[in-house]
């Protein structure tokens, strides 16, 4: 006979000497692993619950300012450097890792309207409503403890009150917005270029991080305007239904920009095709005051007048996270940190608050085993995210009653209009009331700019093309420009 039986040596499996490991042999045969899905689901449920248990997003509050904070900027080269400007004209330079204020300078007579780090990270630019823009040394050798106040490296005087300021990403330049957009150079006391479209003030300015010659600004005529510093003129205008308060370029996708609007929404536009918003981000119940993209380009944070900040995924219609604090009042500026892990909010009660971008992440480095385990749990949560129990727990946020009530009212309004539309559809000829996609709804009007002086702009598109992209109305500006195109097609000069 031939016989063989299972005969395992204990020494093969159990550690005999002190340095040995206990062997953990694996067998992937499904027969040895019953109830796979049920166990995975239970693990996903536990992971979701633990997330909620460990969700402690608020880290610290950077206090020191005595007036509301209306502008903040992070250094584009260092993660821990941060400057904030308040309504009483004071700017403070912070170290985010410790929360210590490195220095505080009473920079302006009026409100500080814009702050930023110049390219290189050594110089801080601040612009105030007293029409001045000042450059300060970041690592100032001044003795602040003794009460010394440093002198600005340079001061620029603008013709009109400055409403916002942004620094160029690579050149020693910055742009200010007021009645017109002025592009300044550090070495020149007068602006290099002045750009204007219409007579409306420009509220918020943002230089493009990738196409560094592009500049976007918001106008009081409810528009977002794109300017080109190479041409020295504005190029494109998108008019929305309500005014936009802030803009942010997607640092990873060069053509996308998100605008924080007064109508409680944020709109993402693709600048190549601006006839409708690419995405509408809804969740706020009051005007959205500030928005900033994460350096990864995958998320952005927005702060609103309703005292909350929300983190949205770049292509999602609703927020993935909402932070609020009883002490935090109306938020006027937000920033995403340079390592995409933290979020800063500046509100009008004078505090800058530091929050975690992912509420249940632990601070500090994770060991590799911990990291793998976390990756597994995250994947499980993603896989079972549609299950009702898990969805209910993951979605749950406790918010102030005002916000939940306002959200409920909004939903009722939306449901009512939807119901009305459904009724209309049911009682009309099938197909006569089409389904309108939220994003495709006409929420903006696109305008292109004809430049008489600069023929390069014209040659890139057909004149008929320009005509088609205009909205027909009896606005006098448009009529003039229409006349210009007609003349140009016929080769006549004016």
């Amino acid at each position: 006979m031939k016989v063989k039986t299972i005969s395992r040596l204990e020494s093969d499996y159990v550690a005999t000497r002190s340095g040995d490991l206990n062997r953990m042999p694996r067998n992937a045969d499904p027969a040895l692993h019953p109830f796979e899905r049920a166990r995975e689901y239970t693990r996903a449920l536990n992971a979701t619950k633990l997330d909620k248990v460990f969700a402690k997003p608020f880290v610290r509050s950077l206090s020191g300012h005595s007036d509301g904070i209306y502008t903040m900027a992070r250094s584009r080269t260092a993660v821990c450097d941060f400057v904030s400007g308040a309504g009483d004209g004071e700017i403070r330079y912070w170290d985010l890792s410790t929360g210590i204020c490195k220095w505080a300078i009473p920079a302006h007579q009026g409100m500080v309207k814009g702050t930023g780090f110049a390219a290189g990270g050594d110089v801080i630019v601040s612009a105030g409503s007293d029409s001045t823009i000042k450059l300060w040394e970041a690592e100032s050798s001044c003795n602040f403890a003794m009460g010394e106040v440093p002198e600005p490296l340079h001061t620029y005087v603008s013709k009109s009150p400055v409403l916002d300021m942004d620094c160029h990403w690579s050149e020693p330049m910055f742009a200010t917005g007021g009645t017109s957009i002025d592009v300044w150079h550090h070495e020149r006391s007068k602006p290099l270029q002045t750009m204007q479209w219409g007579l409306d003030t420009n509220g918020s300015i943002k230089f493009h991080p990738i196409e560094k010659h592009l500049l976007a600004s918001t106008c009081d005529d409810r528009a977002i305007v794109l300017h080109d510093t190479r041409a020295g003129t504005p190029v494109r205008k998108v008019v929305l239904n309500m005014r936009s308060n802030c803009l942010s370029w997607n640092p990873m996708e060069a053509m996308n920009i998100v605008a924080a609007n007064e109508d409680h929404n944020l709109y993402t536009f693709d600048i190549r095709k601006m006839d409708s918003a690419m995405n509408v981000h809804k969740d706020f119940v009051a005007a959205v005051m500030a928005v900033d993209f994460a350096p990864t380009g995958r998320e952005f944070v927005a702060g609103s007048y309703d005292r909350t900040i929300r983190i949205f995924k770049y292509n999602a219609g609703h927020s993935r996270e909402v932070y609020f604090n009883r002490r935090m009042q109306r938020i006027f500026s937000v920033q995403f940190s340079g390592d995409a892990k933290w979020v800063l909010s500046g509100s009008d009660e004078g505090n800058v608050r530091l929050w975690k971008a992912n509420a249940s992440d632990s601070v500090g480095t994770m060991l590799p085993r911990e990291k793998r385990s976390k990756e597994y749990r995250d994947k499980l949560k993603e896989r079972y995210a549609h299950m009702p129990e898990i969805r209910r727990i993951a979605r749950h946020r406790s918010l102030p009653r005002a916000i939940t009530k306002a959200t409920r009212i909004k939903r009722e309004i939306k449901d009512a209009s939807k119901k009305r539309e459904d009724n209309r559809r049911r009682h009309s000829k099938p197909g006569s009331v089409p389904f309108e996609k939220e994003r495709k709804k006409k929420n903006c009007y696109n305008y292109g700019m004809i430049v008489r002086q600069n023929q390069e702009c014209l040659s890139n598109c057909t004149t008929w093309g320009w005509l088609f992209c205009w909205r027909s109305s009896w606005n006098s500006d448009l009529v003039m420009l229409l006349w210009f195109t007609v003349l140009i097609t016929y080769g006549l000069s004016i």
């Binding site: 006979m1 159990v14 062997r23 027969a31």
Partner: protein
């Protein structure tokens, strides 16, 4: 000479077929020559070394790891959903391939017993086997002579490390049978009808004269479960931490041993029941009754999920294999029938000399039957009808078999009989390669504690027990049915008098 590559790759091409009959080694070198009789096109593309080892290339059993058929993205109109489905299917396929490739890491081989030309394996006795096996296996063949305290039942823990024996007259003992270390031994001085291990070797449950008791690994009585009265059979669902009992009252009770709740009790209304077993694949409890009916129970439904008429007369024992495909039942009509549990259809039946006292199926699908003074082990008896058993073991002086269980991960069968307990070796019965994360026969104390905590955290809810794996699958019921169920649940939750959640659950149709 230019030959059409496509022609060679077409298997129906007569030239290809002719070429396939020739050996590759002769024609490998002349493939580039202008000859119609060149070698197989596929092999001509392979490098030399690969053709030489082509014969040694093992066939990967990928289908075992695919867990179902492929989902096609055919009817899906949404582009994003379509790409998602395709990506996921590719991922699953890759994972199955990698799992199949990882099978080479398995170190142990399965056991086997092969007879020479004029011998039959059924004729081999344990004494003969004793001479041919190694020392390690010899130590696994032992016999405990315990003539006084009645017919014994032998149960193993999930990792096959510890054994528990319970004699009908009240003898209870637990020992680590690998090391031959006795954990504890008790004389209870009352009838002991059944014993079972709980999740670990640290806790066990006994069905004594009146109630069910839970003991510690050192023999200390921890709990007396007064809800369970005159219990005949006990079983433990390891992933749900449910202790299941059935007795003379014919009421099946599910007790959660982690929280101590009595989760469910269902009246079978078929009188005294002493045959009960769990389906290890889906945790459904099967009970065999005196009218030949097998019922399948889940804690969430007060009526059985399935009712099967299996025998003419009462059932004596039943067993289910660990993949949940085959059910073996035996009755007083001396028949032993094998059923396909998925379709509830009988496959084949065997006629025994006496009604079987106990039946068990090993991890590798070996079927053992204990009847009278014999134990027979049948190989490949589940899928096909086999002429004769694989092995058999006989007892002398009227010692009758009372309980048999295969030891997990070992080639061992524990036989409890009226004069004690025997451990016999059945080569090829156990799974050779265990998964240490599931059940580890060599676990240290630290590992045992970690596993206990982890399994408590991952404890499945009793509502998840059902015939099919329905977790995270789409609810196919019509919208009206779902709305009706939701309305009922809402009503029950807002009712004035306290209503147990099980009433709500039992109103659902599964």
């Amino acid at each position: 000479f230019i030959f059409n590559q496509n022609k060679w790759q077409n298997p129906c091409n007569p030239i290809c077929r002719r070429a396939a009959n020739r050996t590759s080694s002769i024609f490998f070198r002349v493939w580039s020559a202008c000859s119609m009789d060149s070698s197989e096109p596929g092999q001509s593309d392979m490098p030399r070394s690969e053709t030489a080892s082509a014969g040694m290339k093992r066939k990967l059993d990928v289908e075992k790891f695919t867990r179902g058929s492929k989902i096609s993205a055919k009817g899906v109109t949404d582009k994003k959903a379509r790409t998602l489905i395709k990506k996921q299917e590719k991922k699953f396929r890759d994972a199955a391939m990698r799992a199949a490739k990882a099978e080479v890491l398995k170190t142990e081989d399965y056991g086997y017993l092969e007879a020479d030309e004029n011998e039959r394996t059924v004729r081999f006795s344990q004494k003969q086997l004793h001479e041919h096996v190694d020392e390690n296996t010899r130590q696994k063949m032992f016999s405990l002579n315990l003539p006084e305290l009645g017919p014994y039942k032998m149960k193993y823990t999930r990792n096959g490390r510890h054994a528990l024996l319970g004699g009908l007259m009240g003898h209870l003992a637990a020992f680590d049978w690998h090391q031959s270390e006795l954990s504890f031994e008790l004389q209870l001085r009352e009838t002991l009808r059944d014993v079972t291990w709980l999740h670990d070797h640290t806790m066990l449950a006994t069905a004594q004269r009146k109630h069910v008791y839970i003991y510690d690994s050192s023999g200390i009585e921890i709990h007396c479960l007064r809800n369970h009265i005159e219990v005949n059979k006990l079983d433990f669902l390891p992933y749900h931490f449910l202790l299941v009992s059935i007795g003379n009252a014919g009421v099946i009770k599910f007790q959660d041993t982690s929280t101590g709740d009595l989760v469910a009790e269902h009246k079978t209304k078929l009188g005294r029941c002493s045959v009960m077993r769990q389906n290890p694949h889906n945790a459904v409890m099967l009970t065999g009754h005196n009218n030949g009916v097998v019922n399948m129970w889940s804690p969430s439904m007060s009526t059985p999920l399935v009712r099967m008429l299996t025998h003419k007369g009462a059932l004596t024992s039943l067993a289910i294999d660990n993949t949940g495909n085959y059910l073996v039942t035996s009755g007083v009509d001396k028949q032993m029938t094998i059923w396909d549990v998925r379709t509830f259809k009988p496959m084949h039946s065997y006629i025994l000399k006496r009604p079987a006292t106990d039946v068990d199926i090993s991890q590798r699908g070996l079927l053992s039957v204990g009847f009278g003074t014999h134990v027979e082990v049948w190989k490949d008896a589940l899928q096909t009808k086999v002429k004769e058993p694989y092995m058999s073991h006989h007892f002398s002086d009227g010692t009758h078999v009372s309980g048999i269980r295969f030891c997990p991960f070992e080639d061992v069968l524990g036989v409890g009989h009226s004069k004690g307990v025997d451990s016999i070796v059945i080569p090829g019965s156990g799974e050779a390669n265990f998964d240490a994360m599931e059940a580890n026969p060599f676990e240290t104390n630290k590992q045992r504690r970690e596993v206990e905590i982890r399994s408590l955290l991952e404890k499945l809810k009793p509502e998840m027990i059902g015939l099919n794996d329905f977790i995270a699958t789409a609810d196919r019921a019509p919208a009206e049915v779902i709305a009706e169920e939701r309305r009922l649940a809402k009503e029950a939750n807002s009712a004035r008098k306290p209503v147990s959640c099980l009433d709500v659950i039992s109103s659902y149709s599964l």
